[in-house]
């Protein structure tokens, strides 16, 4: 692979917008407000039959699902499902790491490589 430009070396640079923790915090608060606004809109206009009617339409299907399962009928139910799913994913993923994590050179150990420090143990945390 050839490249035409050589990467510049690290140099003194002006701090970026995202380097300021206050700006990052502002973005995150803004995002939280947006999340709540989206759920709020569902109160104003509920999911389900209101827009359904097209064959193969998910709106229709979700409506049937709500009737059948009696679940996910409340406002923000899919928001909750997304949030809980991701927390569960990460918690279970951390458990998996305890079982599955090995040093980087696990399959091809090369003892004479001092610049590649390996993880200390099978445990992540």
């Amino acid at each position: 692979m050839t490249t035409d430009e050589t990467p510049p070396t690290a140099k003194e640079e002006k701090p970026r917008f995202l380097d300021n923790p206050r700006n990052v915090k502002g973005i995150l608060w803004g995002f939280l407000v947006l999340c709540l606004a989206v759920v709020g809109y569902e109160i104003y206009r509920p999911l389900g039959g209101a827009s359904g009617g097209v064959s193969g339409d998910e709106a229709e299907a979700v409506h049937h699902l709500a009737e059948r399962a009696g679940a996910l009928e409340f406002v923000g139910s899919f928001a909750l499902y997304g949030f809980v799913s991701c927390v569960a994913l990460v918690v279970l993923g951390k458990g998996l790491r305890r079982l599955a994590m090995r040093p980087e050179d696990y399959y091809d150990p090369e003892p004479t490589e001092p610049d590649e420090p390996t993880p200390t143990s099978d445990e992540a945390h």
Binding site: T3, A10, G52, A61, L65, P103, Y107
Partner: protein, 581 residues
């Protein structure tokens, strides 16, 4: 008349165009032949021109046409044109073109030949009308693509490429055994529905399953893809697994087992993806997850579900290709694609960062991006079919995709903590390929009618309804909120230099050690008790090889095929254990 006179006979039929594979093989051959002062430039022209000529040729193929040939009384079909093969034909031409633009600066003729031959083989496979022709292209795909794995710079590329080749040759072997059994049972080889009724069905199913990355057969994806070169991985991600999806749509539509296989595929990789450090391997796991959605669709087997499966395969080539391109650009510029080493690259690679986020939004199925309009068809088909629990499972997987591919990849590469790496954007050709792929993702996501009009089955489906948009937006936004909460709370697992053991542990760690131990014991026995073993085994061997003994019996064709396949498979396994050890 002619047919009876010669054992090999080709019926040119009414086809006006050429077999799509032929154009790519010709391109590959030209690259081999060209020598001289302008060879680099000429090869670049061939790399770009081949898919363009192929696209032009594709316009002259009309559904219903076939290019048939006969070998020893077997009716075979080199080219079968219908809406399904045309859709994948178009997809692979677009993929090959994007890959060629991305890899334009690669001057290694081995990679160029491998890439064109690989794309050509994939096209040959999707236009094949019988299982024997499919087998030929299936193995050609395995061999040509292995060269792309070997093209990787890292020290693991050689052994990963060998493992990759062994696994794919084994898949071809299963396909051949299944195809020949199919021929003896049914008298035909037509590449159509075979189902799981007989042994031949299971053999073919397994062959397709290896290439599709079924659970326990999936590790070649996460093993080989991160080891290939930045450009090689882009090609690899586009063809093999999509050919497998195509083959499953042909051979096993409506096979209920696939619903459960697909659901497992959609679910388990997301856990590995969350803890994986190599971002190209994360994409490998996320590829298995996406294929899971397609496999579920094939298992449901309704028109809506099958349309969803192939539409999602179409979209995945673009968005996964785009994501692999952005990670390839990062690897090229920084020398690593590991989350633990990266971070803060948005400062010097802002355009790549934005393009990566377009790919991330597409794979996460955000409204207006391509994943949204295709994944939803499979989800809707699940509910229509009454598979509510699987639907809930895939909804979980959808949130998980956003978590590991949508957020983790862009976040740890381009944001997170500043790694101090200062670099530049990738060269213009790479940027162009990424921009084109990103434009495709947005175009297909925003105007799905163009994709839908290409789909093989006629179904009315409207992705943009209030409920669907609202459901998906809530799911994804709160997944992101969970990520933020987990990250700020210090719960999110940090990127660590590590590997995670998976099923491959059995053949990369346990197998070689077990084989070594067994061989050691055998050698010990032979050295110390050789004479007595010979005396004891004499009568047994006598019984096997005497007239009417077990080894002297005449086997049926089917049994011979199975035994041949088994012996070859045994040899491959031994080689795998030796190679990995």
């Amino acid at each position: 008349m002619v047919r009876e006179a010669f054992p090999i006979f080709i019926d040119w039929g009414t086809i006006l165009g050429l077999p799509p594979a032929l154009i790519f093989f010709t391109g590959a051959l030209l690259i081999v032949l060209i020598r001289g002062r302008f060879q680099d430039g000429a090869r670049q022209v061939i790399m770009i021109a081949t898919p363009l000529v192929g696209l032009w040729n594709l316009t002259s193929l009309v559904p219903g046409e076939a290019w048939e040939y006969v070998i020893f009384d077997m009716d075979l079909s080199l080219v079968r044109v219908d809406r399904l093969s045309l859709l994948f034909g178009l997809l692979f031409h677009v993929g090959a073109l994007l890959g060629a633009i991305y890899a334009l600066r690669v001057k290694d003729p081995v990679q160029q030949v491998a890439a064109l031959a690989y794309a050509g083989s994939a096209l040959g496979a999707v236009f094949a009308g019988d299982y024997l022709t499919l087998f030929f292209f299936w193995e050609a795909m395995a061999v040509s693509s292995a060269f792309l794995v070997w093209a990787g710079d890292g020290k693991g590329a050689a052994s990963a490429g060998t493992r990759y080749l062994i696994i794919h040759v084994a898949s071809g072997l299963l396909l051949l055994a299944g195809a020949l059994l199919h021929l003896t049972r049914t008298g035909g080889l037509s590449f159509d529905y075979v189902g799981l009724a007989g042994v031949e069905g299971w053999l073919i199913f397994l062959a397709f399953g290896i290439k599709a990355g079924f659970p326990f057969l999936h590790n070649w994806i996460t093993d080989a893809y991160p080891e290939s070169s930045p450009t090689g991985t882009v090609f690899l991600s586009m063809f093999t697994t999509k050919v497998a999806i195509y083959a499953l749509v042909r051979g096993f539509p409506g096979t209920e087992l696939l619903i459960y296989v697909g659901a497992v595929m959609a679910l388990f990789p997301i856990f590995f993806a969350v803890i994986e450090n190599d971002l190209r391997r994360v994409l490998g796991y996320s590829m298995i997850n996406q294929i899971g959605f397609m496999v579920v669709g094939i298992g449901i087997g309704t028109d809506l579900a099958l349309n969803g499966a192939v539409a999602h395969a179409f979209n995945e080539v673009l968005f996964k290709g785009l994501l692999f391109m952005t990670m390839g650009a990062v690897l090229l510029r920084t020398g690593t694609a590991k989350g633990s080493e990266l971070g803060g690259l948005y400062k010097t690679m802002p355009k790549t960062a934005i393009l990566c986020m377009v790919g991330a939004a597409s794979i996460s199925a955000f409204p207006l991006f391509s994943g949204f309009v295709s994944k939803a068809m499979v989800m809707a088909a699940l509910l229509e079919g009454g598979h509510t629990w699987i639907w809930f499972g895939l909804l979980f997987a959808s949130a998980g995709v956003f978590h590991h591919a949508g957020i983790k990849i862009p976040f740890f590469a381009f944001f997170a903590h500043d790694s101090g790496i200062r670099t530049t954007e990738p060269p213009g050709n790479m940027m162009l390929a990424m921009v084109l792929a990103a434009a495709g993702c947005i175009f297909l996501g925003s105007l799905p009618v163009y994709l839908y009009s290409l789909l093989p089955w006629t179904v009315e489906y409207t992705p943009y309804t209030y409920s669907h948009v609202m459901l998906q937006t809530q799911l994804l936004m709160f997944s992101a909120l969970a990520f933020i909460w987990l990250k700020l709370g210090g719960i999110y697992p940090p990127e660590l230099k590590s590997v995670n053991i998976d099923v491959e542990w059995l053949y990369r760690w346990v197998g070689p050690r077990a084989a070594k131990a067994v061989m050691g014991n055998i050698m010990f026995l032979v050295t110390n008790f050789g004479e007595s073993i010979r005396e004891m085994s004499g009568p047994v061997i006598d019984r096997l090889i005497k007239p009417n003994g077990s080894l002297a019996r005449i086997l049926s064709t089917g049994a011979t095929i199975l035994w041949t396949a088994a012996i070859l498979a045994g040899f491959l396994i031994l080689y795998l254990l030796r190679g990995a050890g």
